[in-house]
């Protein structure tokens, strides 16, 4: 198929960027979206034009490194990561607009690459259980109800790609944060730090400049791992309890 691509080009964080138009022919429906961009880049390199920079690593939907706004949707039209989106979701003659994640907290570093280090800092603020190496009791010392273990796993599958933030009209990272708070909060090992965790993570989230949640639900709709919206309810519930306790 033949496509017209409108791609955001930006030299670096300090430069202004703009949309550029590229024509690409011979795209096969078996290509992944990123392989289509590989083909474009090979063509640009031949023409003496610098290739389009974009992030990707595992290309099997698990590392969370890739993420593009495709025709205004985070990760494009399917419920999956950009790397797992295939060109059979498009048709000959399509115009495709490709932009980096939309968020002030994720500044553009070049072309389609953004800086998501704010996510690491939210985890640093409390997204862990303090268990020094070697200090652990036997793994069977604390049984976990299967339902809770399954729920913990389901929400722990978040890949921190940032689609939730990019899709949210408020630019909130509540789904990302709620997933971690719910994961650790479901487990007995996560209880001792549960309420400090939520206060510290939310504090960091707000300090980074992410917006507040108004329950719109765009985040969960865009989430390639289908993290459910109710993790945000859990986050709010834990936060309320923490504040009542005066933390």
């Amino acid at each position: 198929m033949r496509l017209t691509l409108n791609i955001w080009r930006q030299r670096d964080a300090a430069s202004a960027g703009s949309m550029q138009k590229y024509e690409l022919d011979g795209v096969s429906e078996d290509m992944s979206f990123l392989e289509m961009l590989d083909v474009l880049n090979e063509q640009l390199n031949e023409q003496g034009e610098e290739p389009v920079a974009f992030d990707s690593d595992c290309r099997e939907g698990i590392c969370g490194n890739c993420g593009l706004m495709i025709n205004g949707q985070a990760h494009g039209p399917e419920v999956t990561t950009t790397c797992q989106l295939h060109m059979r979701s498009f048709k000959d003659g399509d115009d495709i607009t490709i932009e980096p994640w939309r968020s002030d907290v994720f500044p553009v570093l070049r072309d389609l690459i953004v800086d998501r280090s704010a996510f690491d800092r939210i985890i640093q603020a409390g997204g862990y259980i303090s268990a020094n190496t070697g200090s652990a009791p036997d793994a069977h010392a604390a049984p976990v109800e299967k339902k809770k273990a399954d729920r913990a796993f389901d929400v722990a599958t978040c890949i921190a790609c940032g689609a939730c933030v990019a899709a949210c009209p408020n630019g909130s990272a509540s789904l990302f944060m709620g997933a971690k708070i719910t994961h650790l909060g479901e487990l007995p090992q996560g209880q001792p730090e549960r309420y400090d965790r939520v206060v510290n993570m939310v504090g960091q989230h707000d300090a980074e400049g992410f917006g507040g949640c108004t329950n719109i639900g765009e985040c969960t709709a865009a989430c390639p791992k289908e993290i459910p919206l109710d993790v945000i309810s859990q986050l709010n519930k834990d936060l309320r309890t923490a504040l009542k306790q005066g933390r």
Partner: protein, 680 residues
């Protein structure tokens, strides 16, 4: 049982008679592990933990440790050494430590917990691992791995890793990779992700505590060896292009495996050998580089645009039946229209006892044989041969669930394999409930890596190597669910207990940027980058990488022969010349430049590829993932030659124009006897 073992040798050192690689290498002095433990095998590690010197907590603050890579081995080590109070600097090329490729491991992690009371033990896990590695690993290292495996599970559970559980709330186990006990812990099909996030979170906690500093989007391009010791690295900030010097008392490489030397593999796009290869060029020996693991159940290549391959869990072979048409003319038919009598269930035919469950290397090699015979299925893909000629080949075999669906019902198949079927459908656009899946082998893991001693120290003092980047534990073949085990064993429990023996002599005399070794390393890095940017040829780094991959896959892949390997070495040498004269890297150093990043990685892959072929050429035996056409039984099974090759091949770099020097480390077993395997 085990306590009496490990006191006297059970085999003689190997005496190599054949010399296939003569002319390509120089024979060197034998190498011995200077810190190899002795005594009863089950007491060696405990004794060593005690014998290794301690570092006073007040001194730890004065000791700087550099760790390159943030996967299971690197992330776990950063967290643990940070907790202990050392100053850790952690480097990764990705935008966050959480993206390291350990995250993609699906199946699970082995541990000798014996929670199922099915006869498992530390000794049995040790035995299975040595046997699975085809008796080409060091027994002391493997025993230690089995010994600490149980602690890993405890540690991960304490961190909140959401392993699968039974209704009683206790941890579930499954059997994995052809072993007869259930010792594999798992978190659905995303065990690697959950273990990595556990290590990542532990590491981020130390970042907050100030003991670990993380440098993301940084790539190590050189190791600094000053006065005989590894004292730092030169890294490039991938955002600004700045070349930075980082100095320390010790350097740890945890940079993963080099499967991407084949271009197409299940590794991440960025996985590379550069950190290890730069260290190799500075004096670290590379061990058994030809040992590669090829996974039989991956989604086939769909065209020349293919950028990576996706693995599907091996568990599919439990219920799926593998076949190809008997007649080549049936290959483009709808498989459902091919009658039963025209199908060749070739694994069931050749290996009636194990059928579709034969080990990975056998399943892989037979799939290739079928396709080479012209009986492959799926779309014909243009293959550009290593010599540039194009041909149309169907590279796929069917993995058919029709029988399983009629036997168990669609619902049961869905419960067991639903997520894999969905993934397959998304990538191929075909519905595997309706039409058979197509699969083909792909490079998945490398057992070879930098040579290390029992303390995980390389031949450069002060340079330690952990995880897939070292050669230590898997011999010639790795068992399923053992990669995660080794990464975390090294990071959480082994390295922290061995590195202190080295650091007890520190802090070492401070060096600064004016030290000749630093100046030299920086200059080398800067000149290399300038060279890449100034060649101004016609071809992208990717195009060279693909060509290298074709050569490696054809001649140093599933089956290797003397003739093929010689041809490959010549081709790689030509490719190297072409690369350095016809590469085109646009843009500058002073910003994000992914073409420049790739050029550096491909340059190192080319040199590694040549060494892999030389290693494969020298090893005229078949063992584990290394199959030499000249060394097989009448039935086409792998044939080991313990009398000639029961050794670790440790290669020394001698310069661009020099021949590599081969140092042999004898493999002497004291607790286990070598046996030839058979799956007929």
């Amino acid at each position: 049982m085990a306590s009496a073992q490990g006191t006297s040798p059970l085999n003689q050192p190997a005496q190599q008679v054949s010399d296939d690689a003569r002319g390509y290498y120089t024979p060197g002095e034998p190498i011995v592990d200077p810190v190899a433990p002795t005594g009863p095998i089950d007491q060696r590690w405990t004794q060593r933990i005690f014998d290794n010197r301690l570092v006073n907590p007040a001194n730890r603050r004065k000791l700087d440790i550099i760790i390159v890579g943030t996967g299971l081995a690197g992330g776990a080590a950063a967290a643990t050494l940070g907790e202990a109070g050392y100053n850790v600097k952690s480097f990764c090329y990705q935008d966050s430590p959480r993206r390291a490729h350990s995250i993609a491991a699906q199946g699970g992690i082995n541990a000798a917990k014996n929670y199922k009371e099915d006869g498992d033990s530390t000794f049995r896990l040790f035995y299975d691992t040595v046997k699975g590695g085809d008796y080409r690993s060091r027994e002391s290292n493997v025993y230690r791995l089995a010994e600490v495996s149980a602690n890993i599970i405890d540690q991960c559970v304490a961190q909140g890793v959401p392993f699968a559980r039974e209704y009683g709330g206790l941890l579930d186990n499954r059997s994995f990779g052809g072993v007869q006990v259930s010792r594999t812990f798992y978190a659905r099909g995303q065990t690697g992700q959950q273990l990595l996030l556990g290590a990542y979170q532990a590491m981020e906690r130390q970042v907050a505590a100030g003991t670990v500093t993380q440098y993301t989007r940084h790539e190590m391009l050189e190791v600094i060896v000053a006065d005989g010791k590894a004292r730092g690295i030169v890294a490039r900030d991938l955002v600004t292009g700045e070349i930075e010097t980082h100095l320390a008392d010790v350097v740890v490489l945890a940079n993963g495996g080099y499967g991407n030397v084949f271009f197409l593999s299940t590794n991440a796009m960025g996985s590379n050998v550069t950190a290890a290869w730069r260290a190799h060029r500075k004096g670290a020996y590379m061990a058994n580089p030809c040992y590669t693991q090829i996974h039989p159940t991956c989604i086939p290549v769909s065209g020349a645009h293919q950028s990576k391959l996706t693995l599907m869990s091996e568990s599919l072979r439990n219920d799926g039946r593998i076949w190809v048409p008997k007649k080549a003319e049936d290959c483009d038919k709808d498989p459902r229209d091919i009658p039963e009598e025209d199908r060749d269930y070739y694994l069931e035919r050749i290996y009636p006892a194990f059928g579709n469950l034969v080990p990975r290397d056998i399943a892989s090699r037979q799939a290739k044989n079928m396709c080479d015979e012209g009986r492959g299925v799926g779309p014909a893909v243009t293959e550009v041969g290593p010599d540039g000629t194009e041909q149309q080949v169907r590279r796929g075999v069917y993995l058919d669930f029709a029988d399983a669906i009629s036997r168990m019902g669609r619902k049961a198949v869905e419960t067991k394999y639903g997520n894999l079927f969905d993934m397959y459908a998304r990538i191929t656009g075909e519905d595997p409930y309706e039409t058979p899946m197509r699969i083909y082998p792909a490079v998945h893991y490398v057992m070879g890596g930098l040579w290390v001693d029992y303390h995980l120290q390389s031949t450069i003092p002060g340079l330690f190597v952990t995880g897939e980047a070292n050669f230590s534990d898997h011999g010639a073949n790795r068992l399923g669910a053992s990669a995660l085990m080794q990464g975390l064993a090294d990071g959480y429990f082994v390295l922290p207990n061995t590195i202190r023996e080295y650091l007890a002599d520190g802090p070492f005399e401070k060096i600064d940027e004016s030290h000749p070794a630093v100046v030299e390393a920086r200059t080398d890095v800067e000149q290399r980058i300038q060279k890449f940017l100034s060649i101004n040829g016609t071809r992208s780094a990717d195009s060279f990488h693909k060509q290298l991959g074709n050569i490696m896959w054809e001649y140093c892949g599933m089956e290797r022969s003397e003739e093929g390997l010689r041809k490959a070495i010549d081709m790689i040498r030509d490719l190297k010349k072409e690369f350095w004269t016809d590469l085109r890297v646009l843009g500058t150093n002073e910003s994000i430049n992914q073409s420049l990043e790739r050029a550096g990685r491909v340059a190192d892959f080319i040199e590694l590829g040549e060494l892999m072929c030389i290693d494969a050429l020298n090893r005229r035996e078949s063992c584990g993932g290394h199959f030499r056409a000249e060394s097989q039984t009448e039935d086409g099974e792998a044939l080991r030659h313990d009398d000639e090759f029961a050794y670790v091949a440790a290669w020394e770099w001698t310069g661009e124009d020099g021949l590599p020097v081969l140092h042999k480390e004898d493999l002497i077993y004291t607790a286990i006897e070598m046996k030839q395997r058979s799956y007929k």
